[in-house]
């Protein structure tokens, strides 16, 4: 059997939608035993978010939910009830890690503060994901993906080129719930740190993950620029000085990264006369005249198709990509060669292709061997076999709406 790096790690995931579940997925796909606690009835919000086949909502067919919850067991539990709380506390005794994303006030109301849970399980690692953290003037503020992106400066900074009319084009969140994913990933890194520390002789731990900080941490380079260079940020078009630029072509867009590759870029364009001008003589000069340089490059890209440019770039070693849709990513030969995609059969949603592990570990590769759980699918196993409730007790709990 292929070994799994985290196979002896037990996790309770008491969180909704994307951030907590992506954190849990990173652990479950490396072998951790993750029990996902959902509220009876509707379950996780991602179940009602989609995408759905033919856009018809169905709690077992949401692509987002299916993707985020592979390899997990699923139970339903009304944690707000007295019996539900008791059961949750039993799960905490069993667990190494709790991932939760409730507000500070809600956790207090439910009786699930770290101080309370630590008494039940002193070695527990509790990862709390909140919009602005557990402390500070904004600690009780609500948030979501949009709020995290804007609170962490990523909204103000997007798009990277700036905009043509800053007054009518607002700061823009990053696409596809990217901020929520970043927060979940960041929570996983903190959680693994605490797990390693515990293995190393350390203690149980409460992790206070602020989504605002998780996003702001990614803009660290630009935060440093403000602090050190006293560079006042603006949203004006043309503010970007280096890195990758978007160029329109005859039939779409390409992104080219000039940087230290200027000589390759101009060679690819046939060494035009302008490329030898004094104003483009060195990187510092090129940064000062980046708008002019990009205009000249654009005049050339507009005469070619995106594929022509991409092929030339590959030939000349210029960092470049077509601006492609996710369709092309899924069809890409590189990912096929590396056996990235995994086909998984789900009892209701059927056989679908899923993204595989985000990194390849040679001895303990992440393997998806179970589809996302149906709502309450593992109630009998978790309550019966792990917590040792009798069939009779289970029936009673079901009737009372606790599970």
């Amino acid at each position: 059997m292929t070994p799994q790096a985290l196979s002896n790690v037990k996790v309770i995931e008491f969180s909704d939608f994307i951030s907590g579940p992506y954190c849990g997925k990173l652990l479950s796909n490396m072998g951790a035993q993750v029990i996902k606690v959902e509220k009876p009835g509707l379950g996780d919000k991602a179940r009602s978010y989609g995408p759905f086949p033919q856009h018809i909502p169905h709690p077992e067919k949401s692509g987002l939910f299916l993707f985020l919850n592979t390899n997990k067991s699923g139970i339903t539990l009304d944690v707000a009830s007295a019996d539900g709380l008791k059961i949750f506390q039993e799960l905490i005794k069993w667990a190494d890690i709790l991932i939760e994303d409730h507000s500070v006030k809600e956790i207090e109301r439910l009786g699930l503060t770290y101080a309370a849970l630590k008494k039940i399980n002193p070695s527990l690692i509790m990862t709390s994901i909140t919009p602005f953290g557990q402390t500070g003037p904004f600690k009780d503020y609500k948030g979501n993906d949009l709020i995290a992106a804007h609170a962490g400066t990523e909204g103000f900074g997007n798009p990277d080129e700036g905009v043509k009319d800053p007054a009518s084009m607002p700061p823009l969140k990053v696409p596809n719930h990217a901020a929520d994913f970043m927060c979940g990933l960041t929570a996983a890194a903190c959680t693994l740190g605490a797990l390693l520390g515990r293995k190393n002789g350390g203690q149980g731990q409460h992790i206070d993950l602020s989504k605002q900080e998780a996003v702001a941490s990614i803009t660290r380079q630009q935060l440093a620029y403000y602090s050190v260079m006293e560079e006042t940020p603006s949203r004006e078009w043309g503010r970007k000085k280096f890195g990758g630029f978007l160029y329109p072509c005859r039939d779409g867009y390409v992104v080219i990264w000039i940087g230290p590759h200027y000589h390759l870029v101009v060679k690819m364009m046939g060494d035009p006369d302008w490329s030898k001008e004094e104003m483009f003589a060195n990187p510092l000069m090129r940064n000062n005249y980046i708008v002019e340089l990009n205009q000249l490059i654009t005049a050339w890209t507009l005469e070619h198709t995106a594929v022509e440019i991409n092929n030339l770039a590959l030939e000349y070693g210029v960092p470049c990509s077509l601006v492609r849709s996710v369709k092309d990513l899924i069809a890409d030969e590189q990912l096929a060669y590396r056996n990235f995609w995994q086909e998984i059969d789900h009892p209701v949603a059927g056989k679908l292709k899923y993204p595989g592990a985000p990194f390849k570990l040679s001895t303990t590769p992440g393997i998806i061997n179970r589809p996302a759980p149906l709502l309450g699918e593992h109630n009998d196993i978790v309550y019966g076999e792990i917590l040792k409730y009798s069939q009779e007790q289970l029936t009673k709990m079901k009737q009372a709406g606790i599970i």
């Binding site: 500070g136 709020i147 798009p159 607002p170 190393n200 679908l352």
Partner: protein, 412 residues
């Protein structure tokens, strides 16, 4: 024995050949959590980030002026070692014997050329964890392609879906977003391998491709295509169900434009918003009565809402809306966030006390443990600052040998 750790990764040592953004930030996570990360550079080929983001008047003045470098290399130790010399390679091998992890993000083949392929490394240190970060992975037809964050964003479909509703694609900014994802996936991968090593004594090889991490980050859109053949489109600040859900202009109360992001999740919050606005007539419009109606008519709704938001400063309005139970935040610029009292109260910014950068603040990492110290925020290292410690104390070379090897351009 229950020893008291001050940081969770104490006792773990990393030899770090990473350069630029994603690699250094991955090992920075380990460093801030207490690992001893030894960064290897050569004077003739320093980490480019050492020159990026210099204070006014300091551009081009040596290898210690880059604020970009400082923000990506908290707490590390720096050595200069010329890896193209046999002696340099021999010393690197001695260091590897003392390490748990070797990390690099070169274009493929560099460590092989130095005689440090994973297979060779295992002969020196059988339980070594080797982290190889790259754009497209270390196998397959694209393995040689140069990659940067913006290139991978375009390749993966993220740029395609980044923009205003109905508008053109845009490069994601202001940070190298995909580098961020790659870095933290890398930290997760290394810590996962370290955990396995602590349990079994076995190391392993990590092949981390940006495109594979990113295909996970785009999981929602990937599944949308697989399920429905939908390729997605730019939707700006909008949500698939919620409206209003966007970013709106505010009154300028300082030097910069102000904006507020806000999201209304359900009918109750909509009513709370209406009440906050004093229930103006337009909110009674039939088009805005229920969630589907507001979503269908959100362009018009946003126009009305903007007229209201622009009467107030972003902070003032955030406080008012949050008190009414509505998710809201100023859309911070880097400048505004640096002066924000909430994030400062939480200690997010740290002072590097750096000889060139002084006490200008830099972002810390979003790591807050209840029972450990706040993190290893030692001053980001000057080039070669720790040669004496690493070659003298760790490898046991005498001061004379260190001097000689420095003159011979091995420790250079």
């Amino acid at each position: 024995m229950n020893k008291k750790l001050s940081l969770p990764l104490e006792g773990i040592r990393v030899l770090d050949f990473c350069q630029m953004w994603a690699g250094p930030h991955a090992t920075e996570w380990l460093s801030v959590m207490g690992a001893e990360v030894i960064k290897v550079e050569t004077s003739s080929r320093i980490d480019y980030m050492r020159t990026v983001g210099a204070p006014p008047g300091m551009a081009g003045k040596g290898p210690n002026v880059g604020s970009a470098f400082a923000s990506l290399n908290w707490g590390k130790k720096s050595i200069t070692l010329n890896m193209t010399t046999p002696k340099g390679q021999e010393l690197a091998k001695k260091l590897i014997k003392l390490c748990d992890v070797v990390a690099e993000n070169f274009g493929g083949g560099v460590l092989e050329r130095w005689g440090l392929s994973y297979e060779e490394m295992k002969k020196i240190k059988p339980d070594i964890i080797y982290y190889a970060g790259s754009g497209y992975g270390r196998s397959g037809p694209h393995k040689e392609r140069p990659a940067y964050a913006e290139i991978v964003d375009a390749f993966s479909g993220a740029t395609f879906s980044n923009g205003y509703p109905g508008g053109e694609p845009n490069v994601i900014g202001v940070s190298p977003w995909t580098d961020g994802a790659q870095a933290i996936h890398g930290a997760v991968a290394m810590m996962t391998a370290l955990y396995y090593k602590q349990n079994t004594g076995d190391g392993q090889y990590i092949d981390a491709a940006m495109i594979e991490g990113h295909a996970n980050f785009l999981g929602e859109m990937v599944m949308g295509y697989i399920i429905n053949g939908a390729v997605g489109q730019p939707v700006g600040n909008r949500d698939a169900f919620m409206a209003p859900h966007g970013c709106y202009p505010c009154k300028k109360t300082g030097d910069e434009d102000e904006w507020i992001a806000l999201a209304v999740a359900d009918q109750k919050e909509w009513e709370a918003l209406c009440k906050s606005m004093g229930n103006p007539d337009w909110t009674k419009n039939d088009a805005f009565r229920d969630e589907p109606g507001r979503w269908e008519n959100q362009e018009e709704l946003d126009k009305y809402l903007s007229e209201w938001t622009r009467q107030y400063g972003a902070y003032e309005l955030t406080e008012r809306l949050q008190k009414a139970g509505i998710a809201a935040t100023p859309s911070f610029s880097t400048r505004q966030l640096t002066h924000d009292t909430h994030i400062s109260a939480r200690g997010f910014f740290k002072k590097p006390l750096h000889p060139v950068l002084g006490d200008k603040v830099l972002a810390g990492l979003p790591i807050k443990f209840s029972d450990y110290a706040e993190g290893n925020y030692q001053t980001p290292p000057l080039l070669g600052e720790h040669n004496d410690y690493v070659f003298g104390q760790l490898l046991g070379l005498s001061q004379d040998e260190i001097r000689r090897l420095t003159e011979e351009k091995v420790l250079s």
